[in-house]
Each structure stands twice: as structure tokens, then as C-alpha cells.
Subunit: 210 residues, 4 copies
């Protein structure tokens, strides 16, 4: 079936995300991806080196996008005139992006857990905020004066009590609703309150102190 150039490629990627999220990378079959994408199995090998290359492409484009959003934010003023407001806007935008990447996040988490995997894509979510924009964000946000230990603590707290709860919420919310018979919206409200009561509260205490 002839399509727009590159359309097939995108269909394959979209299908791959879906199947990988359904069965996990190892459980996914190239046939299923081809079927889901509505293309011939061999065509996948025309566009990609192999199964793993699809996964890589998926991960890379996700982090490219993430980085892009962050850079955009920094470029277009960063914390500029209205730091609080700007940051809130960016976070909302990024949160929304993550929510739309539910399937990919699942894959990222699953692959991050395997002992055999060298890298842990999940940590990119931390690196992003840290290493990706060191000289810029760091200076701005943290008035430079921050020991290595303080940074570590910051990262740990952000990751384990901020990022991961949110990631878990995104990837588990449908299952949670099905299992406990809740509505998506109710769970959303509950989760917001939960974060408000814990992580957000921590931020308020922290920022308020000095």
C-alpha cells in the first residue's frame, strides 16, 4: 500500500510503542508491530536496522523532545521576569507531554529495571533537569552556592518523591481505576492532593524557610 513518504515509518513507530507497552520489549513480536501498523513485516527492516533500533529511536526521540521543551523554556526567557509563573507553565506543559507519552513511559520504566541493561533511561529525566542545562539552570535556580551533598539530596528527593510518583501515576492510573473501581478524574484529584500534601509541601517548606 503506497502512502505518503515517511508515513509508514511513523505508523511503525506508533505501533511499536503500543505493542511494546502491551507486552514489553521482549514480549513484542515484529509481526504484531507490522500488523498493528498495517505494513509488511519486511518494510520494518527497510526503515530500521532491527527491533532494537526501533526502541532506540523511540527513546531518543522522547528525550530529544523533552530536551527540546526544556531548552525552549530556557531560551524563551527561562525564569525571566516572572520565575514562579514561568516555571509553573513549563511544568504544566511538560507534565502534559508526559501524560501523552504514557506508553513510552511504561517501556522506559520496564527497560530501566532490567539488570542487564547498562543504561537507565529513567534517570534521563533527572539528568535533564541537571546536566542538560547545568550552567544555566543551576545558577539561576540555586544561587550557585550548593555543595555536592546538597545537590545529591535535591536530586534524590526530586526523583523519588516527585518524578517517580508522577511517572507511576501516569503509567498505572488506568490499571488503578480498573482495579479499585475509581474514575480517572477522581484518581486525578486524589493524586494531586497526595502530591500537594507531600512533595509540594516539601517545596513550600524549603522555599519558605530562607
Amino acid at each position: 500500500m503506497k502512502r505518503q513518504p515517511e508515513e509508514s515509518r511513523d505508523r511503525i513507530l506508533a505501533a511499536a510503542v503500543k505493542i511494546f507497552a502491551e507486552k514489553g520489549y521482549n514480549g513484542a513480536r515484529i509481526d504484531q508491530i507490522a500488523g498493528e501498523a498495517g505494513v509488511n513485516k519486511a518494510l520494518i527492516y527497510y526503515y530500521f536496522e532491527g527491533k532494537e533500533a526501533i526502541l532506540n529511536e523511540l527513546f531518543q526521540s522522547f528525550f530529544r523532545q523533552s530536551t527540546g521543551m526544556l531548552l525552549d523554556f530556557v531560551e524563551r526567557g527561562g525564569f525571566g521576569e516572572n520565575p514562579e509563573e514561568n516555571k509553573r507553565l513549563f511544568e504544566a506543559e511538560y507534565a502534559s507531554y508526559l501524560m501523552s507519552s504514557r506508553d513510552l513511559l511504561k517501556i522506559i520504566v520496564m527497560e530501566s529495571l532490567k539488570d542487564e541493561n547498562e543504561d537507565t533511561p529513567l534517570f534521563n529525566l533527572v539528568d535533564l533537569g541537571g546536566s542538560a542545562t547545568p550552567e544555566r539552570l543551576d545558577d539561576m535556580e540555586s544561587q550557585t552556592g550548593m555543595s555536592e551533598a546538597e545537590k545529591n539530596q535535591l536530586y534524590v528527593t526530586e526523583f523519588f518523591t516527585g518524578v517517580m510518583p508522577f511517572v507511576c501515576y501516569i503509567v498505572l492510573k488506568d490499571k488503578w481505576c480498573r482495579h479499585f473501581g475509581m474514575e480517572e478524574e477522581e484518581l486525578g484529584r486524589c493524586f494531586d492532593i497526595a502530591m500537594e500534601d507531600t512533595h509540594e509541601q516539601y517545596h513550600k517548606n524549603r522555599d519558605g524557610k530562607p
Copy 2:
């Protein structure tokens, strides 16, 4: 090689946990498990119906154990005379058990994320504290009067900002240390502080209010 009765079976289970954690359930090979266990491949099929049966056995024995610990705690006095102290003891004991189940937890998380899987073993960790001991724990801890909505909020907060951060910490701590060049102990201290600053703080606020 003849061994003590049931020894081979245990070796197989132990090997399976390890390999599953390394490669994921789908990525694990029966040969590898046999090799790791030092038993003949066919022997695996003598003790188990197949690959999936091993996984099930693993999950079941984990939740059997978990339930056992909780029941023991309730039986032997529950919150008895010194509720705070007793609860802290149990939590420490259970936390320690979870830490020792790192590999299994990885598998549980990975399998919980797959869309194709009907059940979400992760939620058992919630069910455990909830449904397993409703009339006892509930009454004691929560003065009975608690609406459905309040319970939902409680579960959501506990799970996403209490259980999951801890689970994530357990399954990611070695990778975190390798990735960020931290010592296990330092990470442990950081994580404790992070929980103290967020989830524990929430509990204090909550209990302190009334």
C-alpha cells in the same frame, strides 16, 4: 545430581528470580535458569508446568509471605499496648523483607506495567494493608469513621507517595549509585531524608491535627 528433597526446586526458583530480574520475564531463557540453578533443563518441567508457572509461584510465595508477616503482626497483638512502637517495628521488619526481595520487586513492577496483563501484582501491596485486615486494622488505626472518598484518598496517597517511592528506591538504588556515583549508604540517608521531608511529614501533619 541427587540433592536434598525440594532443594532443586528451590534452586530453580532462586535462579528464576535472578534471571527474570536480569532480562525480564520474556527475555529470560529456561536454559539460563537451568544453568544458573545448576540443574538439568528438563528438571524444571518436572517441578513446574512451565515458565509462567514459575512466575506465578514466585509471586504467590511473595504475597503469601507478605500476608503472613502482616497477619503475624496482627495476631501477636497488633497495635496492642504500644501502637506506635509496634507499628514501627512491623514496618521496619517488612521494609527489610522488601529490601531483600529486590529482584522479585523488579519483576513485579515490570509485569505490573504490561498492558496485556490482567492483574497488577503491585496493587497487592495496597490490598494487603487494606482488604486483608479490614475489620482489625481499619478500626484501630482509623477510628472507623471514614468515608469511601477518604479511604480512596488515603490509599492513593499511601501508594503513590509512600509505597511506590520506596519500591522504586529498592529496585533502582544500585543503578542510581552506579549512574550518579553515589555510595549505597549515602543514597540511603538521602532517601530517608526525602521520605522524612515528604511522606512522613504528611503523616505527622495528619496525625497531629486532631
Copy 3:
């Protein structure tokens, strides 16, 4: 090796008939079939669901063919102007087809005997003459008036003293010749005489009476 479309599929079927006849369905190995067919083992699973699907296809195509021949005969005039002659022609044609299906007949008989098998493909040879063309053949041949009991008797006699001896002759003739040191042709003559003396004689008596 690329071949004409469907050629591989046919080669596989032909090879399967041969191997099944040699070792029986259960004794046959997919490798052997692939080897005999000169195709890659995996290709068998490209064309068929599995071993059993091959057997089914074989059986179905045999009975499709058989039914086709019978229907052709009926369509093209049936007992038309020269009933006796037409019938004789059809029988000769069908007998010749059966002779050429020697291997498949072996398989049919073997599978028909297993207690575990629900259906008895052998009986299709009876159903064929009966149910496949009820309103046509029946009326013509048997002047309609025939009680259930008479029909039963007819089927039993036809099957056990007509069909089965012929089937047994086809599937055992080579073994008989080897065992008793007879020539195929001599056995053929003997078998014709045997049938002439028994089953044919019965038909003559039956038709002659009224």
C-alpha cells in the same frame, strides 16, 4: 529457494502424506517432512498452523476431491441414459482415484482407529454416498421406498464388505506382495475375483431378485 507460488505448500503436503504414511501421524517428525519436501522447517509454519493443520488440510482436500467427483458425476447426467454404464464408469474413476491416494488412505485408516479421535474420517466414505446426494442418488437408485432399517443394512453391507475390503486391498497390497511373494498384478486379479465372488455376487442377487 524461491519457487513458484504455492509450490512449496504443495511440496510440503506431498511430503507430509509420504512421511505420515511411513511413520504414522504421531511418529512423523516435522524435520523429516521439511527434508522430504526440500524446504526450510520454518516454512512449514508459514503455510500451516502446525502439524495437525497439515493433517486436516490433507483430509479435507481428500474429501473435497471425493465429493467433487461424486457431484460431477451427478451433475453431468448421473445415471442418465445408461445408468449401469455411467455408474460403472464413475466407480472405475473413483476407484482409480483411491488407488492413487494409497498413502492418504493409510493415514485415514490409522487415524480412524484411535480411540482418542472424535471423528472417524473413514466413515466419510459412507457419508459421501449417502448424505452428500440424498435426494438425487437415493431416489434414482433405490426407488425411494426404503425403511431406516433397510438403509442401515445397506450401508453396513456396503461399508464392511465393499468399501473396507477395497480400502484394505489398496493400503496393504504392497505389503501383501512382499510378504507372500506375489506380483502386484496377480494379487490384483485375485482381489477382483474375490470381490466378484462375494460382494459383486451379492449385488447381482439383490438386483436380480425383483
Copy 4:
């Protein structure tokens, strides 16, 4: 489980007959036989060399028994004073024995059909009447004067229109009844009539002539 000596052996043989008849020799599993016999799998190897040895034992004891009955008949007078009557008695006795060997007959037929098998146990049923008692039966029944060709014709007719229909009747009668909704007894009557009308008729013509 301790039993009478040799009891286990018999149980194994009986179980083997049943399972072989159900699934065919190749389809039968040693485990199933052990299960059916209610003995440990390894015990089978105490009594028999292996799977094939069981089959051989089964076949041998069947033909030993058959030969025994025939010899008994010959020894105790053969066609003696009342040839017709004696022969009829023997045939009835032997027919009854065959009927009771339904499962074994199935196995014999199935194994006889496989191209790979050197010998054709089915033919033993012919050999029995022929070679087993050449100088005795032959002389008596056939007044010696009988050419090789005549003998061949005799065997062919006996086997394909006498023995095989009967064997087929025995091994297929339950399936026939289930398939066509007939009662065992009705089928029995029909079959007797069928044989009467064909094979028996042939005998009458043959004996009556001279």
C-alpha cells in the same frame, strides 16, 4: 504399593493396550501407561526393556494365544468326526476371542499400515491358518490337490473378504454406532447378514459345487 508378584506386570500390559489403542503406539506416553496402570513409571523399566518391548510382548502373547487355540483345536480332533460342527465351534470361539481383543486388534492394524514397519502382524492372521498348520489343515481341508495359484486365490479371498471385514467390524463397531446412531446389537445383526450375503455365500457356492 506392594502387590502380588507379576500383578504389576499385568497391569502395565493391560494399561499399555488401552493407551496404545487410544493414541496409537507413537502417541502413547510411558507416563500415561504408568498412570493408567497405577504404577511408578520406573517400574515399567523393571519389567520391560522399553516401550517397544511392551508392544512386542503384547503382539507375541496375542499370537501365542491365537496359535494355541488353533493347535488345541487341531490336537483335540480337528475336524474329527463332525468336521463342520467342530470348525464352526472353533470359529465361534476364535471370533469371540478376537472380539475381546478389540484394543489389541486396533494396534495391530495401525502398526501393520505403517510403511516403515518391516512386518505386518495382520498377516499373521493368515499365516496362522496357513503356515502354522500346513501339513495338517491343508491336507484335511483341501484334499492336497491345490495349485499355488489356487492357494493364493484362497488366501486373498479369505483375508480381504473374510478376515478384514470382521476385523474392521470389531475395531470400528463402537465408532460406527456412535457415528450413525445405531445400537451395537442392530449393527451386529446387520454385519452378520452382510457376511452371510457375501463371504458365507461364497463359501456355500464353493463347497456346494463339487
